[in-house]
Amino acid sequence: MSTPLPLRIRRGLRLPRTLWLLPPLAVLGLVFFFPLYELVQQSLSGGAAHYLRVLHAPIFLSALGHTLQIGLLSTLGCLLLGGVLAVLLAFVPFPGSSLLSRFIDAFLAYPSFLIALSLTFIYGAAGLVNASLMQLLHTSVPPLNFLYTTTGVVLAETTFYTPFVLRLLLAAFGTIERAQIEVAQSLGASPWQVLREIIAPAALPALLAGGSLTLMLTLNEFGIIFYLGAKGVITLPMLIYGKAIQEFDYAQASVIAVVSIVLSLALYALYRLSFNRLQRDHALPL
């Protein structure tokens, strides 16, 4: 009579767990998927002819070219710089190297536009390097002018996105048995052989995952290019901003935005594929 209800019945009265997913999904739907749907609608408002017209315009094609060029070069830069730093940090450790890697980690909290601003103080027309060179060469014309070109943008993006690659590489290197390297060396392997036979195979999936992540992020990058104000370096995000905010042309802006979204989603799929491989091979945490 006063015995408590059996556990099973009490459980049965509870709402299914999946219903709890509805509130957050409804919020995300309202603030993200509904606007995305509206954006696609907006882009279709001019019909297919409008799409073709926008996508055939020289300004779009040149922006697409710049975006891909900057993205690929920056990604290459990040893989090179990140690769060298990661190998040195993981396999030639020095006292305090873990502290330094945490400092590079903290760089992730540094907004990307601040990199662009900081670099103008170093390589800008009146910056550290140009001022030194001008004093040295007794000239009043700044000898280095690369900052406001594609080169400057690539340098800034390489600086900003290298820590992303570095983190993935260090995680992958953490799974290499140190004994494996020592045994190889005691059998007479040179550093070059160790690098090629042991370190490179472990690094490959991380480089692939880091590379596709960096490529996606650099194709999407806006702040760095906006801050550098590089004349003639118009990428897709810059073009979208220009069309929407400076020309109030939402129809064109949304067509370019949709193309840009498709490009990013394709790259993200590539990143997931390579990251899943990395996770499977190395049992990395998410």
Partner: protein, 265 residues
Amino acid sequence: MLFHSKFARRLAWGTFFLLSAVFFGLPLLMLLLAALAGQWNGVLPSQLGFGNLLDALQDARGHALFASLATAASATLCAVVLGTWGALASRRLNGAAQRVIDAVYITPITLPTVTVGLALLVAFSRPPLLLNGSPALVIIAHVTLITAYAYSGIRAGLARLPEAYEQVAASLGASPARILFGVTLPLLRPYIAAAASLGFALSMGELGATIMLYPPGWVTAPVDVYALTNRGSIFSGAALSVLLLAATVIALLVLNRLGRHPRRS
């Protein structure tokens, strides 16, 4: 150890220090110097002082910092609630359903932030959902862009949580709500703090979506730094940037402290 000879090891360390100094140390140092600079005619700035920094706390500059802090704090709070809720609710889903929820949460950060801003502008510029011109739209954009990080951080935390505590609590008759608030959430505390830190830092530096959406009365610090440097007030821009970084670092330290388990203090 890759190298056993002393010379090779020194060479490797030298390379490492040179690369990290040139790429990471120097930019930060020059930004700090510019923030303190009174004049910059030669190779290095001169007349260093705190004048720029103090000016940056006044009037419009101070308001920009406030707008950034208010945006970041509210966006982080919403994102952490949304992310934690989603991660907890999707905890025992099967593989395919889990992947769908993951995709729903992660998609926003795979897109250019400018397109997220444009989509919000298109969707919320006409009645009945007229939010254009309100700070709320800026905050919504930030929530959209940082919720993914909160979600994946909490999800990783949940995967590492020992299940025994919750099972013991359940077998002792604790209600699901009691288990959630008494066991699961306290165990998740460090992960929630880490997720909030990342979200806060990203929100403080967000530019791409904000510049599409900000109303005149809600100029965040990154937008203001752009306006300042564009007008030629480079030292004021650098000073505001340094204050932005300082405010971010202080917030991260506070969150880090909150994330520690109280009894392990």
